[in-house]
């Protein structure tokens, strides 16, 4: 006998709608449950991916080539010589859609006529930063750095405001050259950027790489080559690790080292790994909450039809047949619930919450955790599959309880009962 014979399916379907209110109520429970699973996980994932993206965007990249000493002592002594050449060589190793950004990043002082403040000076190739780091995104004010602009400087909006500066103003930047001498140079503020982290805004200033190299009389130097994998699934460990190995092979002997973002941001990587576990726990919790209702509803439906089951048994249906019928009914219930919930979730994520949720009122709190101010929900197929999977598997398991019950009714018993 085929499992899904048409008649069983029909019987189950009709039985489901014998008590529309009851079915609707339990469907609502299932739908609310699954929506909460999917939508909350979408926000959780959005928050987490925002966090990862912010960190990677924050001049980290997916892979970074550095002098290993630089991480301990970020001074020009631990630089990369002939960085452009190395970057070009590494570029050949990687697919075309990979972007490399060469940067010279050193501590320094920014001076205005009224104040001096410690900053991180980053020399960049503006074109190479597009799509790689936050500085490659449109500015908040002003104009981007032009490649040949030796005196242009980009500043964080936060720092700009704190120092009472404006676009077009002159500032003097000082840093230390290889001999330990201070070198300063005048720059004009061309634009200001906004970063997710206020801390970044107050700390980082950007100038052209060439101009920074000239200032420090260190032509061709950089302190890092940041690599961004654009379309590749950057969160997948394998891809990044694979590239890191290949790059390190090439770097052998140069005293440089490539590191994947998971090593660069170990804390965040660990958090991501935990995230899936947290989500699964939440799914199961929500399921249990609705599982009780599911079991109860099906149980009621079964008790109500005790007489019919007795009759069916009397007519020669085996108990396995009864189990099957009840299970098909449960399956219908779950499938309808899932379909509705998935549709609603999709609608919620893609339409209602399309523009994200603004967490601005927790300003200092979200900054502390590196969360974006606006959280956009991210629908991940794996979360949807996991939510639906949890519901179907556990749902059928729960449905088995009333089904087994129904199978136990004997014809005599049921007749006597009513």
């Amino acid at each position: 006998m085929r499992f899904f014979d048409l008649l069983s399916v029909q019987i189950s379907w009709r039985n489901l709608w014998r008590n529309p209110r009851r079915t609707t109520i339990i469907l609502t429970a299932i739908v609310v449950g699954i929506i909460s699973m999917i939508v909350l996980s979408a926000f959780g994932r959005g928050m987490m991916e925002g966090m990862v993206k912010n960190s990677i965007d924050n001049l980290v990249g997916h892979i970074k080539i550095q002098n290993p000493q630089y991480r301990i002592d970020p001074a020009i002594d631990n630089r990369i010589d002939q960085a452009e050449k190395i970057a070009a060589q590494i570029g050949e190793l990687l697919p075309d859609d990979v972007q490399l950004a060469t940067r010279l990043r050193l501590d320094g002082v920014l001076s205005t006529s009224r104040e001096h403040t410690g900053v991180m000076i980053v020399g960049i190739d503006p074109a190479a930063e597009k799509g790689v780091s936050f500085i490659g995104r449109p500015l908040y004010q002003g104009t981007p750095l032009q490649p040949e602009d030796a005196r242009g400087l980009l500043i964080g909006q936060g720092l700009l405001e704190r120092l009472g500066l404006e676009i077009g103003k002159k500032v003097v930047v000082l840093s230390q050259d290889a001999s330990g001498e201070g070198r300063s140079k005048a720059f004009r503020i061309r634009g200001s950027y906004r970063a997710e982290m206020r801390d970044t805004e107050k700390r980082y200033i950007f100038i052209n790489l060439k101009s920074f190299q000239d200032m420090l009389a260190a032509p061709g130097s950089a302190t890092e080559i940041s690599i961004s994998l654009r379309n590749a699934n950057a969160y997948q460990t394998g891809t990044v690790e694979d590239y890191v190995d290949r790059i390190n092979e090439r770097l052998d002997g140069l005293g440089l080292e490539a590191t994947g973002w998971r090593q660069l941001l170990p804390a965040i990587a660990a958090y991501i790994d935990m995230f899936d576990v947290y989500m699964l726990i939440w799914f199961v919790v929500v399921f249990v909450a609705m599982g009780f209702g599911l079991a109860n509803t099906v149980l009621m439906a079964v008790y109500e039809r005790m007489r019919e089951f007795g009759l069916q048994r009397a007519l020669g249906l085996r108990s396995s047949g009864i189990i099957k019928n009840v299970m098909i009914e449960v399956l219908f219930l779950l499938l309808i619930g899932m379909a509705l919930a998935d549709l609603c979730s999709f609608f919620l994520v893609k339409v209602v919450f399309r523009s994200g949720i603004d967490l601005g009122s927790f300003g200092a709190g979200i900054e502390m955790w590196g969360i974006s101010r606006i959280v956009y929900p991210v629908l991940s197929l794996s979360d949807i599959v996991m939510a639906n999977g949890v519901v179907v598997l556990l749902g059928l398991l729960v449905g088995l309880y009333p089904a087994l019950h129904a199978a136990r009714f004997t014809p005599i018993e049921t007749m006597r009962h009513l």
């Binding site: 009224r114 410690g118 002159k170 005048a186």
Partner: protein, 253 residues
């Protein structure tokens, strides 16, 4: 602003740089003014008073300068700080403390910090970029004061000069004595000013005895220097300006 300090310490900041023979009387005037101060070398003893709304403190210092970039200063008073020294050589600077008997090299990032808690920065002592190079000068006013002609020179910062000021206004007497120096930001708003008062004669030169540096926005915060002894063009050996010399205590007597 480094200039300020320069002037105030007369001494060493102002080097007669080989400024390109800029024509124009303003440039000559500025150049001469700084030449007048600088001498080839100098020895001085002066008190430095740091004034704050709720607090005031006076130190007495002794210093030598030579040429464009070398300088050595010691604190004589108060006794607690006695023997603390600063050595400036080229663009580098060391700080010496007798208690721990160490000389510490200041990293470039510390150069903009206050020198000994005053309104002068380490940079003011150490930097020797020439006002002559970084600014374009023009005489904007002449007047007669106490029988001397006084020139007001407006020095506008050159576009690419690594200076934070938009312009400076100097008042120079016809005998090349600098009377005041004002510092303006890029919007030509006055930020701070240094004034010289009480002209007296030090070893044959007329020289302002009191120099005051104050910020415009906080009138009750200023630093005042008062010269007690000032000698010019004395013979100083180069080895005075070395780390070993900074650490030796014999110059305190």
């Amino acid at each position: 602003m480094r200039r300020i300090a320069v002037a105030s310490f007369v001494v060493f900041l102002m080097l007669s740089s080989k400024s390109q023979a800029a024509d124009g009387e303003a440039l000559v005037l500025v150049q001469k003014a700084f030449d007048y101060w600088r001498g080839l070398s100098s020895y001085s003893e002066f008190s430095m008073t740091i004034h704050r709304p709720d607090f005031e403190r006076t130190m007495i210092l002794r210093g030598w300068t030579k040429g464009r970039s070398d300088g050595l200063f010691y604190v004589l008073q108060p006794p607690k700080d006695m023997g603390n020294g600063s050595l400036k050589k080229g663009r580098q600077m060391w700080s010496y403390n007798p208690k721990i008997n160490r000389a510490i090299k200041l990293p470039p990032s510390m150069m903009s910090q206050s020198w000994m808690g005053s309104d002068f920065s380490n940079d003011d002592l150490a930097k020797s970029d020439s006002i002559l190079d970084d600014y374009d000068h023009a005489v904007v006013e002449r007047e007669m004061v106490d029988g001397h002609q006084v020139f007001t020179v407006e020095s506008i910062a050159k576009e690419d000069a690594p200076v934070v000021w938009g312009k400076q206004i100097l008042r120079v007497r016809d005998d090349f004595i600098l009377l005041s120096e004002q510092f303006f930001d890029e919007d030509m708003e006055l930020v701070k000013e240094m004034t010289a008062e009480d002209l007296v004669e030090f070893s044959g030169r007329i020289f302002p005895k009191i120099w005051t540096m104050r910020r415009v926005d906080e009138r009750d915060r200023f630093t005042r220097l008062e010269y007690h002894i000032l000698e010019f063009d004395i013979d100083i050996e180069d080895r005075l300006f070395t780390l070993a010399s900074l650490k030796s205590k014999k110059r305190l007597q």
